[in-house]
Symmetry: C2
Subunit: 342 residues, 2 copies
């Protein structure tokens, strides 16, 4: 547990700067007084791209590498073509810093809205692989724009990449009360990638006799997420399936206003990055309507990753208490942040 934190902050666009401000407010309030927090802001995202055409220059990538961790708000606006910031900034960071564990906890907090009838008891975590699968950018197109166009996307999967994230998921499952790991894939159709995942879970699972494992096809998993979400404890899955499942999981646990995520390199070789799952929501930017809770919970994941477990729990308890007290009356972004910080 370091006595100082050197944090890179990427506020980004839209509501990004607003929610990040509250995230930092709560993060500093939760830290023990003797831990020094230093922050460096990076101007990256849609604004920067419109101004300079740059997404993530090498010099800034190098600077980011020197920090202990990164807190990101949200990037993007409707004026940036789809894919530019995703591939040029967000995914570039995940790949450059080898964020192979994309951690997304899902919990139905008290007193929050869920579209599900009967308010099931939801508390699971998705361990999404972050550096392989269909996200590797290994695609292309030929005769583009003609009636003879062919476009490909290649999903790359390695034993190296699958095993390390599966191990991480088993560790997390072993540390939880329910001790259950569900692999989600589509191994009846994507047989090569799918069987690599299945074999790996089976083999690594032999080292964790205390953890019960099962398997679901991704299509079936979406069914259980809405009909029986309480069946899940830890889910381990590929990059694309994890993307889909965690948005659905966020929806059933009160919406992406509450969904936190960590892009983690567990080895510590690179800084890990923490961000809310939601986007930049340009339509409500500046109105004070953004809920900073997802960013605050991401800050808690950040603190836990850096070894500040007590501070992380303090934040999560504050969020639980704050949500329990909400009476549906609208509060501003900073009012929520103030409440959580105090």
């Amino acid at each position: 547990m370091a006595r100082s934190i050197d944090l890179a902050v990427i506020p980004g666009d839209g509501i990004g700067p607003e929610v990040v401000a509250e995230g930092l407010k709560v993060l500093s309030a939760a830290l023990p007084p003797d831990v020094k927090l230093a922050t460096t802001e990076y101007d990256l995202g849609a604004r920067r791209w419109h101004a300079t055409g740059e997404t993530l220059p090498d010099a800034e990538l190098d600077q980011l590498r020197g920090h202990d961790a990164i807190l990101l708000g949200a990037v993007g606006d409707p004026g940036v073509p789809s894919g530019v910031l995703e591939r040029g900034l967000l995914l570039k960071l995940r790949f450059a810093f080898d964020h192979y564990v994309n951690l997304r906890p899902s919990r139905l907090f008290p007193n929050t809205a869920t579209p599900l009838a009967g308010r099931p008891d939801i508390d699971f975590v998705v361990v999404r692989e972050g550096t392989e699968g269909p996200y590797v950018g290994n695609g292309g197109s030929m005769r583009t724009g003609t009636p003879a166009e062919v476009a490909t996307e290649v999903s790359l999967n390695t034993a190296y990449g699958v095993e390390r994230v599966v191990r991480d998921a088993f560790e997390r499952a072993a540390a939880r009360p329910a001790k259950k790991l569900t692999l989600v894939h589509k191994n009846n159709v994507l047989v090569h990638a799918g069987h690599l995942w299945s074999r790996t879970v089976e083999r690594v699972g032999a080292e964790y006799p205390g953890v019960a494992t099962d398997y679901l096809h991704v299509d079936a998993a979406t069914i259980f997420l809405v009909t029986q979400p309480e069946r899940f404890d830890v889910i381990v899955t590929d990059n694309l399936f994890g993307d889909i499942l965690t948005d659905l999981a966020a929806a059933v646990t009160g919406g992406i206003g509450l969904a936190a995520s960590g892009n983690i390199n567990p080895t510590g070789a690179f800084p890990s990055m923490f961000e809310p799952v939601h986007g930049s929501a340009p339509d409500i930017a500046g109105t004070g309507k953004a809920d900073p809770t997802a960013t605050v919970l991401s800050a808690a994941l950040l603190l836990r990753h850096l070894g500040h477990e007590a501070a992380a729990e303090k934040i999560e308890d504050a969020v639980t208490a704050d949500l329990a007290e909400r009476d549906g009356a609208p509060r501003t972004t900073s009012a929520i942040g103030d409440a959580l910080a105090s």
Copy 2:
């Protein structure tokens, strides 16, 4: 509208034969008396594979080609390795008979259970591409089973394949009251395939000025399917995303016990195949607990495809009426079939 129907029937495994029997019962009852129905059963599926090791021999594929349409129950049992029947039978049929429109209507019928609070008004149809994308079987692995294994899955997408299914979806949207088409993809990450889809929808859409179009990333689409399913009218999407979305859609509209599907070759060059979305459910096979409604609704899609619109509507009305009358008391598979047939 043909005066005779030469139908291939693949009852399959588990509850397959039971639900198919009821599907045929209702189908014959709905047909005008002067339409002759001939059926030929094909013994394909897990039973056959266990007995002979065969999934779909060429001779039978050739025979199947000669029918007007195919009705399939469900295939598979836990003793067949994952992928064998999927790739060797189900997907083989879709590819061999060029079933490029995988049609999956989603409707929340009266008096049926939904996991969603508030019973939203759901009535949309997913037009899932059926012959391309990550389903093409273009993958492999090297150094299999070693720590240096690499496994790939290639998503193949062509202007030819995307345009024909997009056109079909626009036709369907234009014929519906809401006249709205939503493209679902992940064009911010799978940029090559995704942009082919986006460009195609834009271009073909210019020919359908009466149809409003929009776009959702697949992750966001899962959110709307549970928070705002009434926003959807026609969804057009790739093979894998369609697989995932239609299971989720089935879950929110009362479960896969009611979800019908058609694997359609709209040109008529090959027989189209109709099947319930659910599997063979070996745990309840033979107990009379299987709900044949999804198969019955698939039979309605089959009749509509062959031009028997009135008979198709008759079946759908019977299902609506039957569901409205259900009081939660369990009924056997054949009791439901009898009720629908009468």
